[in-house]
Assembly symmetry: C2
Homo-oligomer: 214 residues x 2
């Protein structure tokens, strides 16, 4: 397909959007999370304040774009921390996930702690696992554990439960920084280990069914 006028325009728009994301990222780095305002962002790239809305539906959309960037970084970090032992590889996902959340609390909050009723323009819930490379890595490593006989049951159910435990741990650490959890890394590791210990001894049915011992 030759580059029609249509695609050229779209491409340019995408480029300008990337430029805005980069500027927003720099703004957050320089002035902190609340330093990112639409007016400042527009001034930074030489636009009128309202022109930003040509590229983003609203401020949430900007934050979401920032978060997507951050998640690619996370996925890259996860890939760097692999292992021959599937359980260790799975633990690495949790460790990196935690390190990311604790190191980028604002991005983490944006993605995982603000209601996702209004998805940014044509995203489906599947994007939370298909479009999010980190979640994809989690599921695939769970599948590896199941294939190796280290875990048994439905991989998606196992991954979701691990996600719930990891998310609970990290979001508590972010939200209540003063609470005596002890060393954050140690708390994360403990939660992760305890969960994997249970999961490895029980068969995990898919999510729609009723729990095992009820």
């Amino acid at each position: 397909m030759p580059p029609s006028v249509q695609t050229r325009r779209e491409k340019q728009k995408a480029e300008q959007r990337s430029e805005l994301v980069a500027a927003a990222h720099k703004l957050v780095q320089e002035e902190g999370y609340e330093g990112l305002t639409i007016r400042k962002l527009a001034k930074r790239v030489g636009y009128a304040p309202m022109s930003v809305y040509s590229y983003f539906a609203d401020k949430q959309d900007i934050l979401f774009a920032l978060a997507e960037d951050a998640f690619e970084t996370l996925a890259r970090r996860i890939e760097e921390h692999s292992s021959d032992d599937p359980i260790e590889a799975l633990q690495a996902v949790m460790t990196e996930y935690a390190a990311f959340g604790l190191g980028n609390p604002n991005e983490y909050r944006t993605v995982f702690m603000t209601e996702k009723t209004k998805l940014p323009e044509g995203r489906s819930y599947e994007d939370m696992e298909e479009g999010n490379p980190a979640m994809k890595a989690l599921i695939s490593r769970v599948e590896a554990c199941v294939a190796a006989g280290k875990l048994q049951g439905d991989p998606r159910a196992i991954a979701t439960m691990l996600w719930a435990v990891g998310h609970g741990t990290i979001s508590l650490l972010i939200t209540f920084p003063f609470y005596p959890f002890g060393d954050p890394q140690a708390f994360v590791k403990r939660m992760c280990d305890f969960t994997l210990a249970t999961l490895s001894t029980q068969n995990v049915p898919p999510l729609t069914e009723t729990p095992v011992n009820c």
Copy 2:
């Protein structure tokens, strides 16, 4: 001590504050979470918009007061669901906690999902367990399980881990209502049962130490 002028004034102020909290609660019920604005709240009780700041430091403070109300309700519900079996009593805490979170997502978000760096005027982190009757109930029922030999280890550590699991589960359900978790109640029960299953087979060290198998 006789009712001095000082105490009478304070009492009146507290009453007016309660009136504002009640009005705020009604506003949230009627118009939803974002329907609560300071101007609307002031108009509702016949104040000038800025007069609200005589009773609350900022909007967070209003939300926090709302949440405290909600937590007394939660604690009351927990007390209503007791049992002779300490494990069942503990499960009831989790069940009611979940029902509260899923039934009052706005209050839940306010208390457990917004950063608590700025405590409302002289609160310490201990208020999160001392002042919160629901957290107090959780810890005491964990202690009952330990005393009965159903669980072993540090009660505070066990309670914190249960909190992390419960919070992760509920906050995910609230934040991603479209994600296929299956039946919310079943998912909560499954998470709770899995966690208790592990905890009952392992000794739980206090939180400052390193995890068991590292």
